[in-house]
């Protein structure tokens, strides 16, 4: 189970991105995407922005849950008051060898398949875990933009922010 997380600005420009593996169910937090899939992930993630823009006006919640799916990749979205989007791409383990281009080395994950958070991306437990992750990142994102030197749509380069996101990933996903 691997995750690709990105913060997308109001001009559809990426502000921050981070890839990590699951730490739950004995996961080692290591990434299991192949290089080819990592490129594809960026593309898949950004293509879901169209759907975000469609549903963001029908639902005033910040957390929009898993709202897009591409083969076996699920994309969850969180949208801030300032119209900045947090997108998280997650791939349930086990099923990714057959239909995803390039094939991912996720065979080890099949044993934990039925119990891990990632196994069923639309289950309430997964939604809750992703929500907690987003909420914690939002907290840190607001702190980042509180800096008087931060202008809207600037890339977030702070290593502290990055480590905070990593910690949130370890804690919840």
């Amino acid at each position: 189970m691997s995750y690709y997380f990105a913060v997308i600005g109001t001009q559809d420009n990426p502000l921050f991105e981070y890839e990590f593996g699951t730490s739950k169910q004995g996961g080692d937090g290591q990434l299991r995407f192949s290089d080819q899939v990592r490129h594809l992930n960026q593309f898949v993630l950004h293509s879901s922005l169209d759907i975000v823009e469609e549903i963001q006006w029908t639902n005033g919640q910040l957390y929009l849950k898993a709202m897009d799916k591409f083969f076996n990749s699920y994309i969850s979205c969180f949208i801030t008051g300032g119209n900045v989007k947090f997108l998280l791409l997650h791939q349930p383990p086990g099923a990714n060898s057959s239909n995803v281009i390039g094939g991912v080395g996720g065979i080890a994950a099949t044993t934990t398949r039925s119990t891990s958070i990632g196994a069923n991306p639309t289950s309430p437990q997964t939604e809750e875990a992703v929500k907690n992750f987003f909420t914690e990142v939002y907290d840190n994102y607001v702190k980042a933009i509180m800096s008087p030197f931060y202008k809207a749509n600037m890339e977030i380069k702070s290593p502290v922010f990055r480590s905070r996101v990593a910690a949130a990933g370890r804690k919840y996903l």
């Binding site: 990426p14 005033g60 008051g81």
Partner: protein
């Protein structure tokens, strides 16, 4: 998007060029909620604000340009306040404003309460059928103008253009692009109750109304 090449060493490299405060605490170590009830001294604000006006007044050719500069000073504050006040809301009522009315209510209540310690006095929609895109937020006694006396030859100037900039930032941030201007409406007759009465005229872009109509229909 250089992460594919740089991989995991990127974090360490960036850290080298960054200097931390001596106590090791960054902005990320500070709570977002702490200053919720804290208030600032009005006199120090007035002093700062007078400097801001003086700064904006340098090398400007007219009142309009001066107001534009004040507006620009307020704009980033509005953009950031939007997210800050949203995160301070209790989790249950954390919702993005989806229509003009809820956005203006957010400004009238939350933003004003945070900035000035009270709500704005009135919210009005333009009664002119030609301008359905115009809304007005009325403040009887803007705090920023408390110690500002405008010279006679600049009577059009209203330094609350700074607050108008904040409002504009909030609207732009929430994806309701608008132009906001401040206008003095009081003081025209003797013995008036609110001589400093200011109207913030919010004029939304046509696409906002178009979207509003679409959402309303669905």
């Amino acid at each position: 998007m250089s992460h594919l090449a740089a991989g995991k060493t990127a974090g360490a490299k960036e850290a080298a060029g960054l200097r931390y405060p001596s106590n090791g605490k960054t902005i990320y170590h500070r709570p977002l909620n702490r200053t919720k009830t804290a208030e600032l001294s009005q006199s120090s604000f007035a002093y700062l604000f007078s400097e801001m006006v003086t700064y904006a007044q340098r090398r400007v050719t007219g009142i309009q340009e001066l107001e534009k500069r004040l507006n620009l000073q307020g704009h980033p504050i509005g953009l950031k306040l939007l997210d800050l006040l949203l995160i301070r809301e209790p989790a249950r009522s954390q919702t993005r404003p989806l229509n003009i009315i809820s956005l203006l209510h957010f400004i009238k209540i939350n933003i004003w309460q945070h900035l000035f310690g009270r709500q704005a006095d009135r919210l009005e929609k333009s009664s002119n059928p030609d301008t359905p895109d115009e809304y007005m937020i009325v403040d009887n006694e803007p705090l920023v103008n408390a110690y500002v006396s405008v010279p006679r030859e600049m009577s059009q100037l209203n330094c609350a253009a700074f607050v108008a900039g904040i409002i504009e930032g909030v609207c732009d941030g929430a994806a309701f692009p608008a132009r906001v201007t401040a206008h003095s409406v009081g003081g025209k007759e003797e013995g008036e109750m609110w001589p400093g009465k200011t109207v913030f005229l919010v004029k939304f872009q046509p696409e906002v109304l178009e979207r509003e109509a679409l959402i309303g229909r669905a």
